[in-house]
Amino acid sequence: MSAALFGLGLVLMSLGIVFLFVAALGLWRLPDLLSRLHVLTKADTAGLALVALGAACVSGSLAALLPLLLCVVLVAISGATIGHLVARSVTRRETAP
Amino acid sequence: MTTDLVYHVAGAGLTGLALWRLATCRDALRRIMALNVLAIGIAMVLLASGFDAATGRTDPVPQAFALTGIVVLVSVTAALLALAERIGGRSND
């Protein structure tokens, strides 16, 4: 049971790192700021959530789950808010004279 | 090649970089930033020399010094930035 949980944790963490690399790749390859903001709010948050879930599986204690969960929630909200605000300021500047 | 040696090299490198910029740069903000890097480099050297690779622990006394240093550094940075704004800032924001 605990070996299976450990294996599941490893798989989840590796998958999360793949997402983080995809996010970095997107930051390199996407053509403009507004498309790059997608990276911040989606790929990165998903990657961190998978990593945290995997870490919770590996450490195997409920006490570790709370900070990990809080991390994911905080980063998701922060990323979404900053993404929105940056996009808002850029589009305002483009449409305003 | 051990962990503390890597951080000794990095701390000395940061210190050298910061000293070079402090000497050659005219911009106030850049100099304050160099001062921050200098303090971090010194703290890194201090912590690396307190690190015991055998036990994987670090001496608590340098840790307390580094912690104190970080808090003093941020207050000094804020005071210097206020000075720099007063000296070089545009009068109306």
């Binding site: - | 490198g13 000293l19 005219r26 930033m33 703290a43 020399s49 608590p60 000075l83």
Partner: protein, 299 residues
């Protein structure tokens, strides 16, 4: 893990070089913020989680905002380097020599040191089980008292200089959910760090810095407490930390005859009480260092 250390320090040096050489202000500050992240990771690798917590809170929350504020007011980088190429080379040689001397002086010192056994032997008597907190608030409490004095002096200096108050742009309604969820959670994290500082990594500085970061987020979102009376209250709170610490030192002197020597058996209560007041004071000080005091009357 040695590969991790090498890549981490190379990235750190690259970030610091970018922060100190890029001509674009925002790029330089962004590189400095990323360097702060990598520095916190370095402290973790050097087995100093207490320092990493403080660096994380101050590097992520306060320093970047401070530099961005000043960059906005001072304007773009103007003026070339001091002297010419030869002066730069001479400075590089001097700085390189000094850093090599620093490396030579410290890298060979990995012999037995007296402090860890001393701290371990006296940890029982200090009242707390986190050795860093024991050093900060019991064995070397005198240093910490002076550090709080430095904070108070910096605050007084900023008040006297009277920088223009921070007036953030209106950010629309979507920052409100952010402020309602993230800031209370930051306060929760600060309380957690303060409480566990006696037994695990954490303590007054870390908690105060996190609290200050949360307050800065409120101010920047445009819903922070403003108004003359609140700012004056924060100023008093910021200076109160030093007063409480000095008062505790004198009271302890009266009780035990030693300066900052806490009564036996009650060390933990004294330390927690001092730390709790320091947390509020440090948070108020850091916040005021960013926002500036009340606008000067003759402006």
């Amino acid at each position: 893990m040695i590969a991790f250390d090498i890549v981490l320090t190379l990235g750190l040096l690259a970030c610091a070089a970018m922060a100190l050489t890029l001509r674009d202000r925002t790029a330089s500050i962004a590189a400095f913020v990323v360097a702060g992240l990598l520095i916190a990771l370095s402290w973790v690798r050097l087995a100093a989680p207490d320092v990493a917590l403080a660096e994380a809170a101050i590097g992520a929350g306060v320093t970047g905002a401070l530099f961005l504020r000043s960059a906005r007011r001072i304007g773009p980088i103007t003026g070339g380097p001091v002297g010419g190429m030869s002066a730069s080379i001479a400075a590089a040689l001097g700085a390189g020599g000094l850093s090599a001397a620093l490396f030579w002086a410290f890298a060979g010192t990995s012999g037995p040191v007296p402090y860890p056994p001393l701290v371990a032997a006296n940890l029982e008597a200090s009242g707390v089980t986190n050795p860093v907190t024991a050093v900060l608030l019991n064995f070397r409490a005198w240093d910490t008292l002076l550090e709080i004095a430095v904070l108070a002096v910096a605050l007084a200096l900023v008040v006297m200089l009277g920088p223009a108050p921070v007036v953030p742009r209106a950010l629309g309604e979507l920052v409100l959910p952010f402020a309602r969820i993230v800031v209370p959670l930051a306060i929760l994290v600060a309380g957690h760090l303060l409480w566990q500082g006696a037994t695990a990594p954490g303590g007054a500085f870390q908690a105060g810095a996190v609290l200050a970061g949360g307050m800065l987020a409120l101010v920047l979102a445009g819903i922070g407490p403003a108004g003359e009376r609140i700012v004056r209250g924060a100023l008093l709170l910021g200076l109160a930390g030093l007063a409480v610490f000095v008062g505790a030192a004198l009271a302890a002197e009266g009780l035990t005859g030693r300066f900052l020597g806490y009564p036996a058996g009650a060390e933990k209560a004294w330390i927690i009480a001092i730390e709790a007041s320091l947390t509020l004071s440090i948070a108020a000080t850091l916040c005021l260092l960013f926002t500036g005091p009340v606008r000067r009357p003759h402006q």
